[in-house]
Symmetry: C2
Subunit: 171 residues, 2 copies
């Protein structure tokens, strides 16, 4: 089998995109830009930033989650997380409990203040999503969820799906 010119699936960039997606790229930027800035005004009153919001969001969605899982979702280092987590804990928005089976774990829970703040932060973002969906067909929501899940790194789509669609679980 020497000298056969295999249609070598290139190593670096196997599949070239046929189409241009500049529109979707730009729209994703604009949509995310505005969506993510919604809670800024509320956060500022607590002297928190977007990093605090992300932590609060995931901890309230997954009460009792492990620190390692949070790190895996946020894809940041434990040092970066530690900084904001410490502020959320000393501020009384998040608590830690040792794991029952493995007491090395320090499972994360939002306090009632944490839940309340998270709810307030979700409000403007929920309204934005609701408004965006309102003008679309009723099945648009599923289409968009599918699209966003497909946009995640393939190796992690399983984890993400499990975490997102079994929201409010510790995994």
């Amino acid at each position: 089998m020497a000298d056969v010119i295999t249609p070598s699936r290139e190593r670096i960039a196997p599949i070239f995109p046929k189409e241009r997606y500049d529109d979707l790229m730009s729209l994703l930027f604009f949509a995310y830009r505005d969506f993510i800035s919604d809670p800024d005004a509320i956060l500022a009153r607590y002297e928190f930033g977007r990093a605090h919001h992300r932590v609060l969001h995931f901890v309230t969605c997954h009460p009792g989650m492990r620190v390692a899982d949070l790190l895996d979702m946020l894809k940041i280092t434990k040092q970066s997380l530690g900084r904001v987590l410490k502020q959320l804990i000393t501020g009384g928005y998040i608590e830690q409990q040792p794991g029952e089976t493995d007491r090395r774990e320090r499972l994360l829970f939002a306090t009632s203040e944490g839940e309340a703040l998270a709810a307030r932060l979700r409000e403007p973002q929920s309204r934005r999503i609701e408004r965006a969906l309102a003008r679309l067909e009723p099945d648009a929501r599923d289409t968009i969820a599918d699209f966003l899940l497909n946009m995640v790194n393939e190796a992690e789509q399983g984890d993400v799906a499990r975490r997102v669609f079994e929201e409010r679980t510790s995994a």
Copy 2:
């Protein structure tokens, strides 16, 4: 921690979302997280970051655009833009030309190197979008574009639509 106990009376937008959108919020985070990190490895070889990428993206999409329009799209200060723009110009990826009618303007153009780099940066992101759309109905693309546009601040949806759908124009 200033002002922790804020009476929830100061409600600016009085419409409460009926549903929970935690799934879409999380998915948008995960999707954007992975989408935006695609070009990091390429950027690093040029000692550029994501801010450079954003500038290059919009300048290649809108050749001859004004600095003020770029600032309006990115929603950052001219000082922040100035830093990365200077590096892109001294690196030979972007050029400026005085405007014909208004010579105060310094219109932005990508050089051929800039176009080439922008194309390389688009590659992994285009592949990701193509893969994400591949498993959806053919009309999903329009649904997603509509959704993302609707997610933009209402006051700017017109500008964004004009800019995105008349891609490759200086406005």
